[in-house]
Subunit: 348 residues, 2 copies
């Protein structure tokens, strides 16, 4: 089969690799129908994550079950399934408590020896704990497939950020970051009952999606000016709940500064940069909490899936460019140069 | 009257100052019966907080109302009252939501122009929002007065830390710091239903109090050895809820490292030191939350007071040295040299 391989910074190639097979009785093999490129993939693309030449890449995908091991009980050959960005056994302490990303047998797609999502198929460890079945009818609905694909990462991650920020009915929410995760956090905050959602971003195409997802205000300023703008919108108090969906020192600083006293920042941007941007004195004096991390999206799918299926939410507009597997490198280039917001990869 | 005045690092003097009087209709004057020295006072004592010569000091006290302004409704002359370490108006948005430390009219004892608690009397701004009445019979009960005095800061601060750490019934809790706040956090965690409370500390007299307050385990190690010891006690997983009651880089690092994935650190140690000790990558990868800050003890008194009065909890053992007002400087010296845990100051 064909799969995307990392050869070095800015050097991805789509190459022939062996077809995946069931190796353990808990495995499944999934034929990939849709995958996509994540903002966090760009850190690998740029050579900033220590990824080694030869590793696969891609951690967001859905597809059809092609084979299952003898112990697999919850999915069958032919099922349409979505694949979370971390695999998990579903039975350890952390999985049972819903923190599937801390699974004692968990792993990340594209890590050494594993398949990636940006290819034609993948071996899925712990299929029962990892995979979630989707209605087969979705196969013929491109928009719905795109929406369902976001369950593999960005929608669940936006939801995790909103929960971390403590979004509740009636809350004023601010979202730092206008990437796909930030936009999904807007959608998630609205879904959780936020009264007001302030999206911070300066790319009009993206803030237009934010408004479509429920943002009531857009702040295009950055840094101190952004802090002032958010305070002006909130009687000087700041937002009850703030989502940090970027991961830089500056974005974290802004997020903490625009939080209301007693509020919280839900952070899901993978931390990068020289410093952390976390000013403990600000947090201490104003009782601003910081809560978040790698999102246990597997645990959120049962809650979010019905809302996609019945049309309550539609995250599919986060995709603005579609490529085939052979053009994955071009997709990365477009996202790296910010000419694309999020790239959808289609195998059919 | 007599009051403690800061003259410079390690130079506190008890001097004659004008008697306080009602200046605004919302003021009260309180004659101090009991006060104490806080671990955070030591930072001022050592000249590390920018306190200027001539400022008063002391923020934990209780006493008898001696005069009230025309608008004061909730306390009368002769009432026994406890005074939280921040005054607050009781009516602003933050006060109504229970975050009295973010009161828009709030202030801190000993700030320029205000009285301190380590003297014979104090003018209390916003008496209705700030003061809480206590049963007058307590005046004749030294142990009870000492216990009630902790409502002004350390007990409420320990409770805030426990809440920030997410202590719930059945939780495994770890407390970093064996000062009075750490010990009160042990008491608070037990009160909130913690199943297991691991106290980190190496001073036997203090860890004995921790055990008396409900600690089930004591870890005397520090740094990496402390992390290993806590993990060994928790099936390798760490504590659901961790209290950070020191405020140094090392203590914060330890607190985050001993938290269970998905758990939280409740921090109430005033942040000090060159770095913050906050490793965002640790927080991110393991979904460990950080929540805390200056404790709104005023808001907690109605919940904690009944438990002191009926004997459910007795925080009075945190005091191990009693001095009169004239000997406040000696009390600081004893705490600075760690020969005393917490110094009680008595005016009667």
């Amino acid at each position: 089969m064909r799969a995307t391989i990392f050869h070095g910074p800015f050097d991805l190639r789509v190459e022939d690799v062996p077809d995946p097979v069931v190796q353990l009785p808990t495995d499944a093999v999934v034929r990939v129908l849709r995958a996509c490129v994540c903002g966090s993939d760009l850190w690998s693309y740029r050579g900033e994550t220590g990824r080694k030449a030869g590793q696969r890449i891609g951690h967001e995908f859905l597809g059809t079950v092609e084979a299952v091991g003898a112990d697999v009980r919850t999915v069958r050959v032919g099922d349409l399934v979505v694949v979370p960005f971390v695999w998990s056994d579903g039975v350890c302490d952390h999985c049972r408590e819903g923190l599937t990303t801390s699974c004692e047998h968990g792993g990340f797609w594209g890590s050494a020896g594993s398949d990636g999502g940006q290819g034609e198929a993948a071996r899925v460890p712990y299929a029962d704990g990892t995979l979630v079945r989707l209605p087969k009818e979705a196969v013929s609905d491109d928009r719905l497939l795109a929406a369902l694909l976001t369950l593999s990462d960005v929608l669940g991650t936006g939801h995790h950020a909103a929960l971390g920020a403590g979004v509740r009915a009636g809350a004023t929410v601010a979202v730092v970051g206008d990437g796909a995760v930030g936009l999904c956090a807007v959608l998630a905050a609205k879904r959780l009952g936020a009264d007001r959602v302030i999206a911070l971003g300066r790319h009009e195409a993206r803030t237009d999606i934010a408004r479509r997802f429920g943002a009531t205000d857009v702040v295009a300023e950055r840094g101190e000016a952004a802090v002032e703008a958010v305070r002006a919108l909130t009687r000087g108090q700041g937002a009850h709940a703030v989502v940090e969906a970027v991961g830089t020192e500056q974005s974290m600083r802004t997020a903490l500064d625009i939080a209301r006293d007693g509020g919280a920042v839900g952070f899901v941007g993978v931390p990068h940069g020289s410093g952390t941007g976390v000013d403990l004195t600000t947090m201490f004096n104003r009782n601003v909490a910081l809560r978040g991390g790698v999102a246990p999206v597997r645990a959120y799918i049962p809650e979010l899936l019905p809302d996609i299926l019945d049309g309550t939410i539609d995250p599919s507009p986060v995709f603005d460019l579609t490529v085939g597997v052979e053009d994955v490198p071009a997709g990365y280039k477009a996202m790296d140069e910010r000419t694309a917001l999020k790239v959808l990869i289609t195998n059919a």
